[in-house]
């Protein structure tokens, strides 16, 4: 289908530079082989696999409760949501109905995870465009979410708070108060984000109309999450296939039709607001009850195939388990959002400048361990 890079060079005197695996703006160990003509990007070839750990293969030899701890290490910024996906799948297979308390707490934790992930996106996106101050503002506010996680889960980023049948332990007595304090604080801070970055003329000039992704391409490449919704692809799993407590809250699916870098950014900022709305509705009515269902010491899934999808901060995460009735899965497959989102990078960044490539790459919000697994 496409010419190799060597053929392109021969024809058009383009030159090739290697962005990564060690590069400030590839956010990890992604290697982009970029062929340039002057400053104009002609072709981008992502080379992945630098943090491939074989998580899917490893899962075949460990038990279900152990798998949860591996999923943390995929998209480490939505660790909680990844856990939830596996737990929901296992619960679905065993036909367990988790208590309401579990559902509500899971939803709140998921939304907090989404907020902190988008905060980090905001921080690094600003940094990619040269506004270094954004990085510190974003991380400052993210700390507050991580503190809440630390108190309740015992860990800040790689939380591992879910287990099949419920939660590892109950929420900390301070949890509700701290979450409410955070929401109150962050509602005041969000306009500051807009002042510093969203409304900035240079920022808008840099991002508007850059890296347009059409609705057709978004669907055919399977671009989900905020990147897909910026192109008008209504793909929010929380809305279309509600899990946990999403069927009892009201929230808007943030949709734009432009599909450029600016709107991919805007979707995430708006989603932070929506997430706060969701938490607002739930935080005061966490039902009383057990925080987990009593499970058998060894969890064995009945023979069959199970699929569960959830909405992580980056898009749709699918967990596909084939069980042969044993305590380990026969085969497990994760449909990770970043892998599909990365695949459009070449399509949308062609014929833009190299500075735009950095902006587009940043706006796709890639987490490399999620691509490689």
């Amino acid at each position: 289908m496409e010419e190799t890079i060597e053929e392109i060079i021969d024809e058009s005197q383009e030159y090739v530079i290697n962005m990564g695996p060690q590069h400030p703006s590839t956010h990890g160990v992604l290697r982009l082989v970029v062929s340039l003509k002057g400053e104009i990007v002609k072709n981008v070839e992502p080379h992945i696999g630098y943090v491939h750990r074989g998580i899917e293969k490893m899962c075949e030899s460990i038990t279900y409760p152990q798998i949860i701890h591996l999923t943390d290490r995929m998209d480490y910024l939505s660790a909680h949501i990844n856990n939830e996906a596996v737990c929901l799948n296992v619960e679905k297979a065993l036909e367990i109905d988790t208590p309401d308390r579990v559902k509500v707490i899971r939803t709140i934790m998921s939304e907090l995870t989404r907020i902190q992930s988008h905060q980090l996106f905001w921080a690094t996106f600003g940094m990619d465009l040269g506004g270094l101050t954004c990085f510190f503002y974003g991380l400052r506010d993210r700390e507050k979410v991580l503190d809440i996680f630390e108190e309740t889960c015992g860990s800040r980023m790689i939380v591992s708070y879910n287990c099949p049948g419920g939660l590892m332990y109950d929420i900390h007595p301070n949890f509700q108060k701290r979450v409410k304090d955070f929401i109150k604080y962050f509602r005041k801070i969000l306009p500051e984000y807009d002042q510093l970055l969203t409304g900035n003329v240079i920022f808008q000039e840099r991002t508007r109309g850059i890296g347009k992704l059409s609705l057709e391409d978004a669907i055919s490449y399977g671009v989900t999450g905020p990147s897909g919704r910026a192109s008008g692809f209504s793909c929010d799993v929380r809305k279309h296939e509600p899990y946990s407590a999403y069927d009892r809250v009201r929230f808007n699916e943030v949709l734009f039709n432009e599909g450029d870098t600016f709107h991919r950014y805007l979707v995430r900022v708006e989603e932070m607001r929506e997430s706060m709305n969701i938490i607002d509705q739930l935080i005061d009515n966490i039902p009383e009850g057990p925080f987990a269902v009593k499970m058998k010491p060894v969890i064995k899934l009945p023979e069959g195939e199970y699929y569960q999808r959830v909405e992580t901060a980056r898009g749709e995460l699918g967990v596909y388990i084939i069980s042969d009735g044993g305590k380990n899965p026969y085969r497990i497959k994760f449909r990770s959002p970043c892998f599909s989102n990365l695949s459009v990078l070449n399509l949308i960044s062609r014929d833009f400048k190299i500075a735009d490539l950095v902006a587009i790459g940043g706006s796709l919000d890639l987490v490399i361990p999620d691509i490689d697994r």
Binding site: P24, G130, Y137, R206, A355
Partner: protein, 358 residues
């Protein structure tokens, strides 16, 4: 008023008494050279510290606070480290040009500082074409940047150097034209005379709106000329890792680093000298008491305060704005700043001709 002319005259006379005119010149050159070099190094170190503190202040951090009181010796510690750190040899680099480039960059900024009047009678050389000299000398640095990018044999460096070349050559025009606006008003290119002409009021207040426009344009274009954010495309960390000085290490990197800060200081002092009255104190109309108090503050303090005010403005830009793209950068210069500037010079000439300025 504090005047340094008697002091310099006295030193000159006593040296003449002690030795032959030839040796007097040699010794005077040595004294001036050493003093300026010292000043250069101290200001450079202080600016790096100031930038880190200002940046920390903008970013809700503390900044350096471990080495010495308030971390003041942090930059000195860094400098010592840079002096002793290994110079990584680069394969396939053009050795001669690679080693030459940092010296060109630092010499250009070093030469520019010679023409700046720090106080009455306190400048290394008072050229009658001072403004012209400063513009010419500060433009020399781009040669070093281009050489560095070319000789490093690194594509990132080359992209950075080419961007820098396009950028500095373009913005040189705006810097020159905005200074010419004030030269038209002052009627002289000699920096000391320009300062003297501001004894009745700084040019930014005296020169109507054109002077203010020229000041704003000068701020923008000099920020671009010194390769500082939001115009730091030549080193664009997130795109080109470090641009033209990616391959440099140790003291050679320190040269680029120091030159960047000194260039910022130099353009700030030019802004202070030309627009904000240099070492002239702030005077208000007929408030004699107030003016007397202002006169009491030494001119060197006035000069430093004004310069650091402009330096602070430039740091503020850098830590607030995202970076421009290369085509937007050139559009800004050629489509907006340059036409505005040309009209501005004409308006200023008209105002001076009609005698409408204050």
């Amino acid at each position: 008023m504090y005047d340094f002319t008697p002091l310099t005259k006295w030193i000159d006379a006593s040296l003449h008494n002690a030795m032959s005119p030839f040796w007097t010149t040699i010794v005077e050159m040595l004294i001036v050279g050493v003093l300026i070099l010292l000043f250069y190094a101290l200001i450079g170190l202080f600016l790096v510290y100031a930038e880190r503190k200002v940046c920390a202040f903008m970013q809700n951090r503390l900044g350096p606070n471990r080495v010495g009181p308030f971390g003041m010796f942090q930059t000195i510690a860094d400098l010592i480290k840079l002096l002793f750190v290994e110079l990584v040899p680069i394969k396939n680099a053009d050795k001669f040009l690679f080693n030459l480039a940092p010296f060109i960059v630092i010499t250009a900024s070093f030469m520019a500082i010679a023409a700046i009047p720090f106080a009455k009678g306190l400048h290394a050389i008072d050229l009658n074409i001072g403004v012209f000299y400063v513009i010419a000398v500060s433009a020399m640095g781009v040669i070093g940047v281009l050489l560095a990018g070319w000789s490093s044999n690194n594509k990132y460096s080359l992209i950075g150097a080419m961007r820098s070349g396009a950028q500095i050559v373009s913005y040189e025009l705006s810097v020159g034209l905005s200074l010419i606006t004030i030269v038209v008003l002052a009627g002289s290119m000699q920096l000391s005379e320009i300062v003297e002409a501001q004894s009745t009021g700084w040019f930014i207040f005296k020169g109507h709106i054109p002077a203010f426009i020229a000041f704003v344009i000068f701020l923008i274009s000099s920020t671009a000329e010194t390769n500082r954010g939001p115009f730091d495309l030549a080193e664009a960390e997130s795109e080109l890792t470090a641009g033209y000085h990616t391959e440099y290490s140790g003291i050679k990197f320190a040269f680029f680093f120091l030159a960047e800060y000194m260039n910022m200081f130099i353009v700030a002092s030019i802004a202070a000298t030309i627009f904000l009255g240099g070492w002239m104190p702030f005077h208000v109309g007929h408030w004699d008491g107030f003016n007397g108090v202002m006169d009491f503050i030494p001119p060197f303090i006035w000069y430093i305060v004004k310069t650091f005010f402009v330096v602070f403005l430039m740091m503020w830009f850098k830590w607030t704005f995202p970076r421009l793209r290369i085509d937007q950068l050139l559009t800004l210069e050629w489509k907006y700043l340059l036409p505005i500037n040309l009209v501005n010079v004409l308006v200023m000439a008209f105002i001076v001709l009609m005698g409408w300025h204050f």
